[in-house]
Symmetry: C2
Subunit: 291 residues, 2 copies
């Protein structure tokens, strides 16, 4: 039987595949964008957008543009992150990284284009969503991905790599580099429905907790999993002196922290009476994943 | 007496200076953003947003967030453009380029953050603008700056540099790399007012013509002006084998083409009865500028 994530992935992949037809004088740019976009990703972030919207009865088809927008942001961040001046990685999602295939300049531009097109997607008319709520989605994506969100986290990550750092640095990096965009997925999914502020706040809290747990597990997997499993270079965090939780508190304690933060997220949802099978399914995958 | 551009520049600079206060663990990222953002740019693009909105009676203060958003996009594109993997330039707006001061990784992230924050700015409530028109502004900025706009033009520019190329390539590069964002300025300024489709179309056409003329003059200045005048390395287009109009048709013919395309833009405005002193003033600066 197809899992919930697999079903979302299929719908998201079909949508993404139609976005950038490689024609025109700038066909190579679009090839570079598609190369990374259509690589075998888990599509966990777009699935979270879909799952949250479906929790409130919104049909999947309507959610796809917003789900895809988040994946475009995630994809751009991976391309830029892998560049030689950043993490300098040559393997991602089981294939050579973008700049290895298309060159650094084209990879940089492919990232810039994906980032810009995320907002383009999110600003097109969305069936059943009033314009005011659509603006809120755009604000959410921009603030979670921008200077006080993902990019801010990456900046501190890069600055601290190879240095000493503190537990406070690790917390900042995890919260911003990873959790904020995952939080945005749940928040944006919520904007498809007409909810009151309390429920929005609970979703936001749940999303943040999911995101923190995700990065904790990621840190653990870098230590415990193989490159083949991950589709990216294993053991790189340790090798490069990245600030991670296992480095400060060990693998077992990090696993425990992930479980605790997930419980905190579940409580937030329970307090406002939100029950969601799709979100439960995705949450289980995040906690139990091996890649 | 202060010129129209100088007055706009002052208002825009004051607005930009308040955007990214360099506090928090990611203070260095915001310093990198501010470094390029607050360098001595002409602020022609934000002035065009303001001038267009003022043509239809919209007060300047209301327009500043959108004017700043366009400058953020322009600024990010310069930072990324100057990176070693792109044009590898070490001088911009009369000062060392961003990566020379902050390193490549931070420059890359500063660009990503500026790009993202442009959409953040444009999605915040704008006084007097209905949400539907605000979404149209965001779509306009994203499409003019994205894969089928500015980034598409830069990709072809990079690919063709040093090669043979055709006049068709030059036209594509000029239209996309430069004209589309300038066109967006005029279009976005227009979205502050409630206009009919004919006037919107005329503004769009005028903006495109202004943008094309701007890049033609830029090509000419690269040949005729000094590095000191330009605040960036003169003669670089020729040295690197960039595709430019002077290379194909010579300096005099390029100047003539700029005058012709400006006339075409003026006609488009005249046909719908739009007369604008502010736009005229900025247009004169574009055509007659020496840097």
């Amino acid at each position: 039987m197809q899992t919930y994530l697999e079903a979302c992935k299929e719908a998201v992949n079909a949508f993404l595949a139609r976005l950038f037809e490689p024609t025109g004088l700038h066909a190579r740019l679009k090839e570079a964008m598609n190369y990374s976009l259509m690589a075998d990703g888990k599509r966990l972030r777009p699935a979270l957008v879909i799952a949250t919207a479906e929790t409130f009865g919104v049909p999947r088809d309507r959610v796809l543009p917003a789900a895809a927008a988040v994946e475009l942001i995630h994809c751009y961040s991976l391309i830029h992150d892998d560049l030689p001046c950043m993490d300098d990685d040559d393997l991602r999602r089981g294939q050579p990284t973008n700049h290895v295939v298309f060159g650094e300049a084209m990879a940089l531009l492919a990232g810039d284009a994906l980032l810009t097109e995320a907002f383009h997607l999110l600003a097109r008319p969305l069936e059943g969503v009033p314009a005011e709520r659509q603006l809120a989605m755009i604000r959410t994506l921009a603030s979670r991905a921008g200077v006080d969100g993902m990019v801010g986290g990456q900046a501190v990550d890069i600055e601290r790599t190879g240095g000493q750092g503190t537990l406070q640095d690790v917390e900042f990096i995890h919260l911003h580099k990873t959790a904020r965009l995952i939080q945005a997925c749940v928040e944006i999914g919520g904007y498809f429905a007409d909810l009151d502020d309390q429920v929005r706040w609970a979703l936001s809290c749940y999303g943040e907790c999911l995101g923190l747990a995700f990065q904790m597990i990621d840190d653990v997997l870098d230590v415990t999993a193989s490159t083949e499993q991950l589709g990216k270079t294993a053991g790189k965090d340790v090798e490069e002196g990245k600030l991670t939780y296992p480095r400060f508190v060990g693998v077992e304690k990090t696993r425990q922290m992930a479980r605790d933060v997930i419980r905190r997220g579940e409580q937030a949802l329970a307090e406002v009476g939100v029950r969601s099978e799709p979100l439960k399914a995705l949450q289980a995958l995040i906690v139990e994943r091996d890649r």
